[in-house]
Amino acid sequence: MRLKITFWKIVFAVIVALGIYGVVLRFTQGLGAATNLSDEFPWGLWIGFDLLCGVGLAAGGFTMAAVVHVFNVKRYHSVVRPAILTAFLGYVLVILALLVDLGRPWFIWHPIIMWNHHSVMFEVAWCVMLYTTVLAVEFSPAVLERFKLRRLLGIVRRSLPFFVVAGVLLSTLHQSSLGSLYLIVPNKLHPLWYSPLLPVLFWLSAVTVGCAMVILESFLSQQAFGHALPRHVREGLASMALVLLIPYALLRILDLLQRGALSLAFRPGLEGAMFLLEVGLGVLLPLALLLSSRVRASAPGQLGGAVLIILGFVLNRMNVGITGMEATIRAGYFPAWTEVAVTMMIVALGFAGFSLAARHLPVFEHQAADDLVEVRKEAKAKERWEGRGADLPTGYPSP
């Protein structure tokens, strides 16, 4: 056990050291020295992965918060806090990545006072700023509980619904707007990915991958911290992912058909291959798998489905950000090793941050106890209703 930890610590140290080298190079000799970006290809891995994927993969935070705190489906209570922690860390890391990617990061605050409401980027900047604050508030109960600040905790708990609703709205806005960023380049983005529906597709895929991420996280936390989720909770999450994946797949394919772009997928070449990989492996395969209730109920099925959805999501964002732009811009781009190193460092920091918080803050324990109470209450209530031969009133969370 001790040896294993040492091994991962060494891996972590190496990744961080290489990442820091990349950051130092970028700040001492400019973006040109640390990246393969060019005038023809000004957005690379740090935007395609760190920003587009980072923000999307953190969508579990607002989805789960909405399910539990707005729709009051209490059985998912135990996944909210880890999901919000992941989201908060995700956004902090996205901002960190932006500080490296922006040419003049010391002016990152400019959108606060310099407004251009015609700009999608302006809107994204504000939403990310506000939503990171909302996430901090949503996660604050864990810190307040840890330090027993009861009065403040009471205030936060009472105002939580407001912050959750604000968080859902802010997320909806900027998750879709990351897609809208590309609406202005109809002549540059490959027709397999350029669509007037980009904002809708970005939002829908983010909500879907949010569920998948929560499933994956629960497996990882089980490995790392031994906090197993009740089986039916994970099953419910898998169903949720399926229910979201169906309209996404339909919308995606209908949109391609309507624009007459679907045949492009079967043309030989990188774009077609990447598209088939993305939609086949990352959308249709998990869809087919999760349609089976046996798969949704089995742990390997849940894990496999979630991993495939996440893979499809990452491929989609990389295809929009890199593959689809490369096709028409006549300029090749492949990230420099320093770009990859910085991205890996940011991912590693995310893992480290989560494990640090999980070890020192009540991320799982308290919730689990809370849940047990809820589950018992629900079971009791159901028993009573069934005993009287009455139906559960609608809107009541079914256990």
Partner: protein, 258 residues
């Protein structure tokens, strides 16, 4: 009031004088690479070979759009279209997100990739010279009159007059009249513009409409989404409270009956 350039590709001999005048007017490095736009080359003359072996010389420079995408997409409003015609960049505002470079349909803005405090660089349509009542340096020096300076409106009239008078010579289109909502820099050509390296697939309206149409819907999303979520929250919680209440009543009733 809005100035512009009319570049008649049929009259350009590729002497490169415009390029040199530009370097001098903007105080740029004379020895920089002449084959691509950069912080030291706001305009270049591209030797463009055609399929039939002929050659055309096509200037590449900022088109100074009537509704610039760079100005629309910049989160901090570092770009602005001035009433005089030039699209200008304010480096004091720029945060370096490079969305302008992504969004520009003509791939004009350049970045100082090697700098620790990088700026976006592009042609300014000699705004300082315009302020003094002078034409742009490139048009002033052009020996053949291929680059003409003037009021955009008058340049358009001149372009259409040339097409009318020599319909057999010119392509029946003034590039930049409507492309992407129109530009201050206009092109005339005797060969299809797509062969001249100018994007041929631009809509005849401002590209900004694509993003601005979506942005204009956002207030609705907030209002409708906000009320919907708050309403759902209220209804669901009320029902749960009512159920709890009923359960409590039943419990007490059962207790009392025993």
């Amino acid at each position: 009031m809005s100035k512009g350039l009319l570049i008649d590709i049929t009259q350009c001999v590729g002497c490169g004088a415009c390029q040199e005048a530009c370097v001098e007017a903007n105080g740029m490095l004379p020895e920089a690479d002449e084959t691509r736009l950069s912080g030291d080359r706001y305009t270049i003359v591209q030797e463009t070979p055609l399929a039939d072996g002929e050659t055309r010389y096509v200037r590449k420079l900022c088109m100074h759009c009537e509704h610039p995408t760079c100005a629309s997409v910049c989160p901090v409003g570092a770009f602005s279209k001035t009433a005089e015609g030039p699209v200008l960049y304010d480096e004091g505002k720029c945060i370096g997100c490079r969305y302008c470079m992504m969004a520009c349909p003509y791939e004009i803005p350049r970045y100082e990739w090697e700098s620790r405090n990088p700026r976006v660089r592009k042609c300014v349509l000699c705004a300082p010279r315009l302020a003094e009542g002078l034409p742009t340096a490139c048009s002033e020096i052009c020996p053949t009159g291929a680059t003409l300076f003037g009021e955009r409106k008058e340049l358009l009239e001149e372009a259409h007059r040339r097409i009318r008078e020599q319909p057999e010579l010119y392509v029946q289109q003034v590039y930049g009249e409507v492309e992407g909502g129109g530009t201050s820099v206009l092109f005339l050509s005797d060969r299809p513009f797509s062969e001249m390296g100018l994007p041929g697939n631009l809509p005849s309206h401002a590209m900004n409409e694509y993003t601005e149409a979506v942005l204009s819907k956002l207030p609705n999303v907030v209002v409708v989404g906000g009320s919907l979520l708050s309403g759902l929250y209220w209804i669901i919680n009320r029902r749960i409270e009512q159920t709890k209440e009923r359960n409590r009543e039943r419990e007490s009733a059962e207790g009392g009956g025993r």
